[in-house]
């Protein structure tokens, strides 16, 4: 038996969470150290996994582990990675690592905080590697459930209960629709082949009828896409960002939203390809609205977190848009965008969190001149801005350029309309940079802005370097992603 690297990656945070809960309430530092150790360990393993896939990109899943769990119902523990999920696993490792670093200062019940955060991380890892539909749902719910507690307990006092509720509600209802669709597939497969199985590789080959796919594609795709912030079910997301503590925002925008898009691809498009072709236009339309609409709203927000929150809606719209093109360029771009946006938005929320912790406001008009006391944050935020504007040389360009290529092939008008968002993005990020980081510092803040911790710097530098690396050397990710996309195209073509 080969080394079960994926299982170790998935269960490390879960085990760490359990250990943390068993530790003493007073052992705050010990909890943090354990969290950091687990995060570093997972980061190293996910990095190693990534480079294994990088060295040997294939269209097939790798590092597969399969153990029958409930054979009677056709449920097995079945995990593996391909070119699309390996970057996502790495992304989760990175966000987990940087999230722990910048949460070092959490002083209110850090034991529970880190435990829930790790529960969340374990769930996210699990979804990205699941090859069994049942396991996917299992991990999916594990990932969503701690969000409620993390936001409601450690969140921003003003809106945390409302936001936590809203988020949970949207996501659970979405997942219920998807689950129903999954059960439909499960039974349809049973009826056709007489085999009860949740195995996604088996279900891929089931050959569901066109009518079946036509009915079930939308519930499944949209059910997951809710978590990806698709219009008109995006509204929980900015509210959730605003209310969440910094590390949770990073997780939320950095990986959790990718979970939605990823699962929509894996379950929606890959298991119901015929449905995807029939409904592609509608998804395309929703995603178009996402892209432009999110950008417009972001432009007039005065709360920095709302700006970033709505920009996530807009940028995640590009992911959905890329997948909805169902062509090579669009899907490669969308997969890259998931990674690029994950890193970028984690950086944004980290930076905003650092400003907020010191200035105690996120209102852009009340801020100013932060570049002087917080030069590292300012530079990091500017780099993030360049990524979000799609500047060449940064990861955003590498991701958005193929998306626009793919979109152009589907509809040139759509490409032109969607490109408006690039201009608007430049407008709102520049506004934040100009007003919050330059401009005049309000007098009451003068002298109260303390410098950031060395650990914060490590987190910021890590995230910035990743975006620059992918931007200047896209060869580190594009080949494996395109192999993963080949597999999707094969399914789409063969259906």
């Amino acid at each position: 038996m080969q080394f079960p690297i994926i299982s170790i990656i998935v269960f490390t945070p879960l085990v760490a969470a359990v250990i943390m809960l068993m530790m003493s309430k007073e052992a705050k530092t010990e909890v943090r150290v354990l969290a950091l150790a687990a995060a570093v360990f997972d980061l190293i393993l996910s990095g190693w996994l990534y480079f294994q896939v990088y060295a040997n990109p294939t269209t097939a899943y790798q590092f597969i582990e399969k153990v029958a769990w409930l054979p009677i119902l056709g449920i097995s523990y079945h995990v593996g990675v391909d070119g699309i999920s390996a970057p996502m696993v790495l992304l989760t490792g990175i966000v987990m690592f940087t999230g722990v670093l910048i949460s070092w200062g959490v002083d209110d019940r850090p034991r529970e905080f880190f435990a829930f955060l790790f529960l969340l991380a374990g769930g996210v890892f699990g979804v990205f590697v699941s090859l069994d539909l049942f396991m996917l749902f299992f991990f999916y719910e594990i990932a969503v459930f701690p969000m409620y507690l993390l936001i409601a307990i450690w969140g921003w006092k003003v809106t945390r209960e409302y936001a936590a509720m809203k988020l949970t509600l949207y996501l659970f209802i979405g997942s219920v629709f998807a689950l129903v669709g999954a059960l439909a597939m499960y039974y349809a497969n049973y009826q056709m082949h007489g085999v009860l199985t949740f195995d996604m590789l088996e279900l891929e080959k089931a050959g569901f009828s066109s009518a079946f796919q036509y009915i079930w594609f939308m519930p499944v795709f949209m059910g997951f896409a809710v978590l990806g912030g698709i219009f008109p079910f995006h509204n929980w997301s900015p509210d959730g960002h605003v209310a969440a503590p910094t590390a949770v925002s990073m997780f939320h925008a950095g990986v959790l939203m990718k979970l939605g898009a990823f699962a929509a691809l894996r379950v929606g498009i890959m298991l119901l390809p015929e449905g995807a072709k029939q409904w592609g236009w509608l998804i395309f339309g929703f995603a178009m609205v996402n892209v432009v609409y999110g950008a417009f709203i972001a432009m007039i927000q005065t709360d920095m977190k709302y700006v970033i929150g709505f920009s996530s809606v807009s940028h995640m719209g590009l992911v959905s848009l890329g997948f909805a093109t169902l062509n090579r360029e669009g899907m490669i771009g969308a997969s890259l965008q998931m990674f690029s946006h994950g890193v970028m938005t984690a950086l944004f929320f980290a930076a905003v969190g650092m400003v907020y912790d010191r200035a105690h406001t996120r209102q852009i008009p009340e801020l100013g001149g932060m570049s002087k006391p917080l030069p590292w944050v300012a530079v990091a935020f500017i780099i993030g801005s360049l990524v979000s504007m799609g500047m060449p040389g940064f990861s955003g360009f590498v991701a958005e350029f193929p998306i626009f290529m793919g979109v152009w092939q589907v509809s040139s008008i759509a490409a032109i309309v969607a490109s408006i968002s690039i201009v608007i993005t430049a407008a709102y990020v520049l506004l934040v940079v100009r007003k919050a980081f330059f401009g005049d510092m309000p007098e009451h803040l003068e002298g109260h802005i303390t410098p950031i911790r060395p650990l914060d710097k490590v987190a910021l530098v890590t995230l910035c370097l990743l975006m620059i690396t992918l931007g200047t050397l896209p060869g580190v990710m594009v080949p494996m992603v395109s192999q993963g996309v080949e597999n999707v195209l094969r399914i789409l073509g063969g259906a």
């Binding site: 936590a164 129903v180 709203i297 360029e329 626009f404 408006i420 430049a426 005049d440």
Partner: protein, 723 residues
């Protein structure tokens, strides 16, 4: 070292300088500018080596310098990026390296290196001057050093990196990288004095306006790449099959061919970058940056990039079209925008009083000449004008900076800070105070006006007019001729108001010549502003034609697959050139020679109601505000939040209230009265809780989960019966 390696290295010194200055030397002014100037010098040397090596090659163009590396694996092949120098990029490299080096040297003097730190200077504001006491105990106000001196050189170095990258790249992707780097630097430099609200606004305006163009360019690149699978010049522009394929493929929009649409999309990028109508509005405002260095970037070098790009994509623009045939849709658009901009901007320049604004509009107008030339297929003429314009416009901008610097000296002397040192009405008689600046400015101005035979501007502008005439593009010919007349007129107006006559203010009386770091670049550039024209004298020109071979035509023309033929000589365009240049200059001098302080502008009366329109730039800023900015904000502020907060959230809240209402009803009308009665277990506390839940619009998790789970059970039940 092979020549290809040198080309790879050309953009690097400025990039290294940028990091060095930002990371290490930013505290030390002398070290920072030394690093910057040295980097610019290294790139300059590299460029010259490459340029002269290219000159030495027989039939350069068939043979070129090129080298590429594999950058992005795309399935079976690689997206390559690389460098290449062919004739056109060689001549562009030549003028770019000279002007960039000049900017660096000039900046040392312009930012008052060696002067004391200001008394009240702040970062983000222009220096206000310092008070010093001499050995006799008298105190003077003198110019003070720029507080963000090092940062300026860092930005300038990054800018140089962008420009060099753009020029040496062998594909549109790295060209776009350089393009965007410059866009960013332009933002940073225009907003350099970020504490000035006007500078901040101008920076954002410039960035956003050019961004609009860039987005279309990006789409053009995406379309081109998806059709050809490459962005390399060699693979697309020098491959007849690809060009033919693009010209015969139908594009999804406007019934155009793919080549036409791609060229149009890329051209919109140029419209933004080279400030052509209707995206011209950012350039005059860009003069808010440190005078005149950013002005020069926005006049001589960066805006040239837009024209350079159109020159590069010329084979695509003219795919399956031959010089002399009726224009295609795209070519007509290009020719129209170019000639319209040339005339339109020239009219605005007539009524501007700010010395830099006149030059800014003149830049827009001259870029229009080049674009118009490309639109009618006059490839070599456009390239020629690009080079000569870069030299004389750089000269003029640095000259205007020198004038302003001299005037600021006068302002320091009188201490009256209300006098605008950039307003030409406050000047006059500076010729005697600043002789070097004066003579070089006259050379630059005459070159811009196209003063016959001597100046470079004459030869390049004449070639454009001759081409328009020869191929029967009368509208373009007439428009450009009128624009040229106005150019000569406003240039002479500028020279007369600034340098001739008597000083009109005390400040002008006390103006003084600027230091050698500023005047040396002026002298060097004026040599090129005259001499560079002689390399492109048409062979069939009367008397002097053929004395020297038309080097420029042969050299640059060899860039194309099919070298353009030299035009037959014709008298009408030459006479037109002579008349408009001399007539405009003479008229300008005649009208403004007796201008006295406080008088209204002599043009005000004859132009009547048109004059304020010109002065206000045809109200384009106001128009765009009303047409685009306000509606965009309106959509953001009214429509989207209303949609988001009222409709979408409204539905959600309605659903949650309904769910609570149902729960409440079940409890109060069924559970309590009926079931409780039967079981007999009523609890006041539960009732109280149920009502408390209602108050919070989204309630408690449990009830929602209950709702979801029940919904889920219902659906499962339904399913169960279905299957």
């Amino acid at each position: 070292m092979s020549i290809e390696n040198i080309i790879w290295l050309i953009p690097l010194p400025p990039l290294l300088a940028f990091f060095l200055i930002v990371l290490f030397t930013n505290k030390n002014k002398a070290l920072s500018h030394s690093v910057g100037v040295f980097a610019a010098f290294l790139s300059f040397v590299g460029s010259m080596v490459v340029f002269f090596r290219a000159l030495g090659i027989h039939e350069f163009g068939k043979e070129i310098f090129a080298s590429s590396i594999e950058w992005l694996p795309t399935g079976t092949s690689y997206l390559k990026i690389g460098v290449q120098i062919d004739p056109i990029s060689a001549v562009v490299l030549f003028f770019v390296s000279i002007t960039i080096l000049m900017i660096f040297i000039y900046s040392v003097g312009y930012h008052n290196y060696g002067q004391p730190a200001g008394d009240h200077d702040h970062k983000g504001l222009p220096p206000h001057g310092a008070t010093v006491t001499d050995e006799h105990g008298h105190s003077h106000t003198v110019l003070s050093v720029e507080p963000m001196y090092s940062r300026f050189f860092a930005f300038l170095a990054l800018f140089a990196f962008g420009m060099y990258t753009l020029v040496v790249s062998d594909n549109l992707l790295t060209l776009f990288v350089g393009w965007e780097v410059m866009g960013l630097c332009s933002y940073l430099l225009i907003g350099f004095w970020y504490a000035k609200p006007s500078a901040r606004d101008a920076a954002v305006k410039a960035f956003m306006t050019t961004r609009v163009g860039d987005v279309f360019m990006l789409l053009g690149l995406a379309y081109l790449y998806s059709l050809t699978g490459t962005l390399g010049y060699r693979e697309i522009f020098y491959n007849e099959e690809t060009l033919h394929m693009l010209a015969t493929t139908a594009a999804p929009l406007f019934g155009m061919s793919a080549s036409g649409l791609i060229a149009l999309l890329l051209f919109i990028g140029t419209v933004g970058k080279s400030a052509q109508w209707p995206l011209h509005i950012w350039l005059p405002d860009a003069m808010e940056g440190p005078t005149p260095v950013s002005a020069m970037i926005h006049a001589a070098t960066m805006v040239s990039a837009g024209v350079y790009m159109v020159i590069r994509i010329f084979p695509l623009l003219t795919a399956d079209w031959h010089h002399g045939e009726p224009l295609t849709t795209t070519l007509t658009i290009v020719a129209f925008i170019g000639s319209f901009t040339a005339l339109f901007a020239a009219t605005i320049a007539l009524a501007q009083n700010d010395i830099k604004k006149v030059l800014a509009y003149s830049t827009i107008s001259q870029l229009g000449f080049m674009i118009a030339a490309l639109g009618i297929g006059a490839y070599v003429a456009a390239a020629f004008h690009l080079v000569t314009h870069a030299f004389f416009k750089a000269l003029l901008f640095l000259g205007s900076g020198s004038v302003i610097h001299g005037m600021e000296h006068g302002v320091m002397h009188t201490g009256d800070h209300h006098v605008d040192p950039q307003d030409m009405k406050n000047m006059g008689g500076l010729a005697k105070k600043m002789p070097i600046t004066f003579w070089t400015f006259v050379i630059g101005g005459f070159a811009l006006s196209g003063f016959p035979l001597v100046t470079a501007g004459f030869w390049s502008k004449d070639e454009i007019l001759a081409d328009a005439f020869a191929n029967g593009h009368w509208a373009v010919f007439a428009t450009l001729a009128i624009a040229a007349l106005m150019t000569a007129f406003y240039t002479m107006r500028q020279i007369t108001l600034t340098f001739l006559g008597e000083p009109r203010t005390k400040e002008a009386e006390h103006a003084s010549e600027t230091p050698w770091t500023m005047t040396t670049p002026l002298v060097i550039l004026s040599v090129f502003a005259v001499g560079y024209g002689w390399v492109g004298i048409p062979e069939h020109f009367p008397a002097i034609g053929g004395l020297m071979p038309n080097w420029f035509h042969h050299f640059v023309g060899a860039t194309l697959l099919h070298e353009a033929e030299a035009l037959e000589f014709a008298w009408p365009p030459l006479l037109t050139s002579l008349v408009v240049a001399l007539g405009g200059l003479g008229l300008g001098w005649f009208v403004y020679k007796d201008y006295k302080a406080g008088q209204p502008d002599p043009l005000e009366k004859p132009l009547g109601a048109l004059y304020p329109v010109l002065q206000n730039k045809y109200y384009f800023d106001e128009l765009y505000m009303a047409l685009f900015v306000k509606p965009m904000n309106w959509v953001s502020e009214v429509f989207t939040p209303a949609m988001d907060r009222n409709v979408i959230d409204g539905i959600l809240h309605f659903v949650s209230r309904s769910a609570l209402f149902i729960g409440h009803s079940l409890r109060n009308y069924i559970d309590k009265p009926i079931i409780n009665e039967l079981i007999g277990d009523g609890s006041a506390e539960v009732v109280w809780k149920a009502q408390a839940i209602k108050v919070i619009q989204t309630g408690r998790a449990q009830s929602y989960l209950l709702g979801s789970v029940s919904a889920f059970l219902v659906i499962v039940a339904v399913l169960y019966y279905f299957f």
